[in-house]
């Protein structure tokens, strides 16, 4: 978007009530989680709740379930337990991913039940390799039409997904092109933000920065809001002016974790294998622990 001064602003689409500084920089609003999601996510949207094992935005996903969002296109490299839950309640129309397992434990039973048996509804599948998904997010963040990699050659994935092979104009080498990902909404979790909505995360960074920059709208949930960010070596800063909303959600990545603040609940990942194996025990768990839970404020 180009503002009155002709300065190129955030690649994200809109903010709900952008505050403007003297230099015409837009800033994220700090709002409650349920307000943020009610505003940012609509039925039918493509939504990337990213997080690579670490910093998975569980609180936000659970709030989307409580708000009854439906017909979503869920995008994520590693749709683990959170997407298993969202697929199991029937919130997803389509899933775009590269690895759908419960890491170190086994299958995602709700994901499998939806694909194998259409319960509670059938789900369209678009799958890639990790390298393909990572480059799709990078292309989206860079505002390029496609990502480029050496990949997909010789395997059956190429026949079942969006990939094209193109020739390098300089060397003639054949390379794989994958279309840019541009989710309607990206939701990620981070350790902290300041009061202006600048975000810092550290530890395993996954593709969260790329997801935020690639998306039309974005929400970051945070463990805490601090007076001032102290940049950490290796920390990833996402500035307020590329984020639409920041919501405080302490513990919001559990049973995943936020390095330095919470620990990964490996026992729950194992327990999920049992809870999710059966449709009734899954539904009972969701009713008790998600639908019956008080939304984070």
């Amino acid at each position: 978007m180009v503002n009155g001064e002709g300065v190129r602003c955030a690649p994200t689409g809109r903010v709900f009530t952008s505050r403007t500084l003297g230099c015409n920089v837009r800033m994220a609003e700090i709002v409650t989680l349920n307000e943020a999601l009610a505003e940012l996510v609509r039925d039918g949207d493509s939504v990337a709740l990213e997080g690579f094992t670490h910093l998975i935005p569980f609180a936000a996903g659970h709030e989307l379930i409580r708000q009854g969002r439906s017909e979503l296109e869920l995008i994520r490299m590693t749709p683990d337990i959170l997407y298993d839950q969202m697929i199991g309640v029937g919130a997803a129309r389509k899933i775009v991913f590269s690895y759908g397992g419960n890491p170190g434990v086994g299958s995602l039973h709700r994901f499998r039940d939806a694909i194998e048996n259409g319960w509670p509804r059938s789900v369209e599948v678009e799958e890639h390799s990790h390298a393909g998904m990572a480059n799709r997010f990078m292309a989206g963040a860079a505002d390029l039409p496609f990502g480029l990699l050496r990949g997909y050659r010789g395997n059956d994935l190429a026949h079942h997904t969006q990939v094209a092979f193109i020739k390098c104009p300089f060397t003639g080498e054949e390379l794989a092109a994958v279309p840019a990902l541009r989710p309607d909404v990206a939701v990620v979790h981070a350790q902290e933000s300041d009061r202006a909505g600048n975000v810092q995360l550290w530890g395993i960074p996954g593709v969260q920065k790329e997801a935020v920059l690639a998306a039309q709208r974005s929400l970051v949930t945070v463990e805490r809001i601090v007076e001032e960010l102290e940049p950490r070596p290796g920390g990833v800063i996402i500035p307020s002016w590329v984020i639409d909303a920041v919501a405080l959600a302490p513990g919001g990545s559990r049973p995943s974790y936020s390095l330095g603040i919470t620990e990964r609940d490996n026992d729950f990942y194992k327990a999920w294998d049992v809870i999710s194996r059966d449709r009734d025990s899954f539904t009972a768990w969701i009713d008790e622990h998600v639908r019956g839970a008080v939304p984070a404020r």
Partner: protein, 248 residues
């Protein structure tokens, strides 16, 4: 000390494979256990690379996921997923990759996507993850899998990851940089690609495993090397270290 189980022996054999490696790319489960064991008993300088972006991780415990906190906290450095694949895996900066699969064929091609038809799968598996580009780019690939006719199949239901394709020259035609699978380590023995045909060949068995049993547990007509070696059983040091690691 009680004798090693087949699974323990498989882990020990995989760890030995890393004696001279500079770096190894690993997923969770037995590959991760084997790589940590290799650092303990064979190669303390071995750089462990986990898909989550943790490079040079030195976990004390066996991680449940590839992104456990201990991996990030002990890593030499941590990178984003795009950097992992574009800077480290793709250009071949990792020596060895340990991969698993639900199905393996005679050319060490791998299926981790579906059992049955793609659109109407009997069993939906997790999918590719990083495997296709890892197998293309890393210096060499070691496959770690259980040995039975359901895993070792005549024909894959889906080719997720190319090993040696349809035989000699396949990797070169596809422009792959790494050498591809150099061994399949199972709970019965070790299969290695024939230097000229690239077809997996039984070259070694675990102690007390008969060649005929390995052939019977393989879903294709398994080639057997002229001289099949018997793998040295886990030493007391190896087994001690492995059991101590598993008990942490």
């Amino acid at each position: 000390m009680t004798q090693a189980s087949a699974e323990e022996a498989q882990t020990v054999v995989a760890a030995r494979r890393l004696r001279d490696a500079g770096s190894v790319f690993i997923g969770v489960g037995r590959p991760s256990t084997a790589a940590i064991l290799a650092r303990m008993v064979h190669n303390p300088e071995l750089v462990l690379v986990y898909e989550s972006g943790t490079i040079g991780a030195k976990p004390f415990h066996i991680p449940l996921s590839i992104g456990d906190g201990e991996l990030a906290e002990t890593a030499d450095f941590v990178v984003s997923v795009p950097e992992m694949f574009n800077y480290w895996i793709g250009p071949g900066r990792v020596d060895v990759a340990f991969l698993g699969a639900a199905q393996i064929d005679r050319f060490a091609n791998l299926n981790s996507t579906v059992i049955g038809d793609y659109d109407q799968p009997r069993t939906r598996l997790p999918g590719a993850g990083g495997a296709p580009e890892i197998a293309a780019g890393c210096g060499e690939v070691v496959v770690i899998a259980p040995h039975n006719p359901r895993t070792m199949v005549e024909r894959l239901d889906f080719v997720t990851t190319v090993g040696h394709g349809d035989g000699p020259g396949a990797r070169e035609r596809l422009g792959f940089r790494g050498a591809g699978p150099t061994a399949v380590i199972t709970d019965l023995g070790v299969l290695e690609p024939d230097p000229s045909t690239r077809e997996l060949t039984l070259t070694a068995t675990l102690a007390d495993v008969a060649v005929d049993d390995v052939v019977a547990a393989t879903g294709w007509d398994l080639r057997v090397a002229d001289a099949v070696a018997e793998i040295e059983p886990p030493t007391d040091d190896e087994l001690d270290a492995l059991r101590e690691l598993l008990s942490r």
